[in-house]
């Protein structure tokens, strides 16, 4: 039992569950799994730890990891194959897709805030363009 333990610790020891993070734990786990996939630590199609294993490694309850896996499966980020375990989705664009989803979420948030302030779509567009220019300029400077 203890020997199977060491197999994944290399990959999972960096999971951080923070109490100052106001999101529920399962969301924090989802995000950190996505990060691993985006940066390429967990490659498309690669086997990932079982729910019980990851729970034991992070030190959180099984049910929390189970929920994170379920949501990730629903988003198409990971797949569960009966009797074989869990894997990162095998399409090579999975990292791209996660970034896409994140962007969509941020945009939605921005639009909601804008709507609450009564900002017109035109004005919002202008604001976004301004932010875009400022950020890309800042990046040019640092390079």
């Amino acid at each position: 039992m203890t020997s199977s333990h060491t197999v994944y610790t290399v990959h999972t020891q960096m999971f951080v569950i923070s109490q100052t993070d106001s999101r529920p734990m399962y969301m924090q786990i989802m995000e950190q799994i996505k990060q691993r996939i985006v940066v390429g630590d967990w490659a498309a199609g690669q086997a990932i730890p079982s729910i019980r294993q990851l729970a034991a490694d992070i030190g959180v309850s099984v049910i929390t990891v189970k929920r994170a896996y379920l949501e990730l499966e629903r988003e198409g980020v990971i797949v569960t194959r009966q009797g074989k375990g869990c894997f990162v989705a095998s399409d090579s664009a999975v990292g791209e897709r996660i970034r896409e989803q994140e962007l969509a979420q941020h945009l939605e948030q921005a639009v909601r805030s804008a709507a609450m302030m009564g900002l017109s779509p035109k004005n919002l567009e202008k604001r976004i363009r301004a932010v875009y220019e400022r950020v890309t300029d800042a990046e040019k400077e640092t390079v």
């Binding site: 039992m1 203890t2 199977s4 333990h5 569950i17 109490q19 106001s22 999101r23 529920p24 734990m25 399962y26 019980r52 294993q53 729970a55 034991a56 992070i58 030190g59 959180v60 309850s61 099984v62 049910i63 929390t64 929920r67 609450m116």
Partner: protein, 298 residues
Amino acid sequence: MNDYAIELNGVCKSYRFFDLQNIALRLQRGTIMGLIGPNGAGKSTTIRILMGLVHQDRGEVNVLGHRMPEEQVSAKWDIGFASEDMRLYDSMTLGWHINFMKSIYASWDDAYAQLLLKRFGLRAEQKIKGISHGQRVKAALLLVFARRPKLLVLDEPTTGLDPVARHEILRELTAVMADEGRSILFSSHNTQDVEQISDQITFIDRGRIIDSMDKEVYLDRWRRLRLEVPAGIELPALPGVIGIQQTGRLAVAIANAFESHLPNAYENSGARVHAVENMTLEEIFVANVEHSREEVGA
């Protein structure tokens, strides 16, 4: 063998100043349940009843397929029990205790015991008399963990431990759950611990179980809504909302049966929803106890 490691039905126990009323509890095999409640709520009594140490006046108690208290001897072979009020023999060394457990339990895992000694920073040749409170707690838990029992019943396992020691204990508990045949029931005042490691949450207050369910479902049902209430608008009483506190134009509503249409319902009444926030178990704990006491008092 049924699917439950622990099953309590209609359990009652009366004392002079305290009653445990109609306790029903189910712990599924392979899961870990956190028992929370204020001081004197009945957590320890419930745990003692399911260990067969206190006999219930009424009701059925079944642990690992054994009727309690009648079959406690067979049940206790597979239960690892540690409680806050449990002490080891002062005049003996930890090593003596280890040998004592070894002489009783064939399941004793010496390699694991050695590992835990190192991990917990304990030494076998130390007399219990000379070690700190935290080390005593860890020593008692070591004696339980190294048996690898099917069921762990722990009454306040992290009380009085420093953050590092607490973290070590929580890690061992979650490591136990890597084996799906094993189950844990533990009580704690530390809602953070319960939130982090339990699959099921059971809330006890004044001798009654207020809630007992899946942790994710449970946390999901509770939300805090931050509202802005324009002048002249009165917040409606909505189902699922257990309390509203308003000062000036800002209000906070606490929901214990949150549904996604709840923010819309407030918007429709003329209020504006600034935020819908998840609540920590600690916040839920306080809100829940206050709410249930109001109900009882009303």
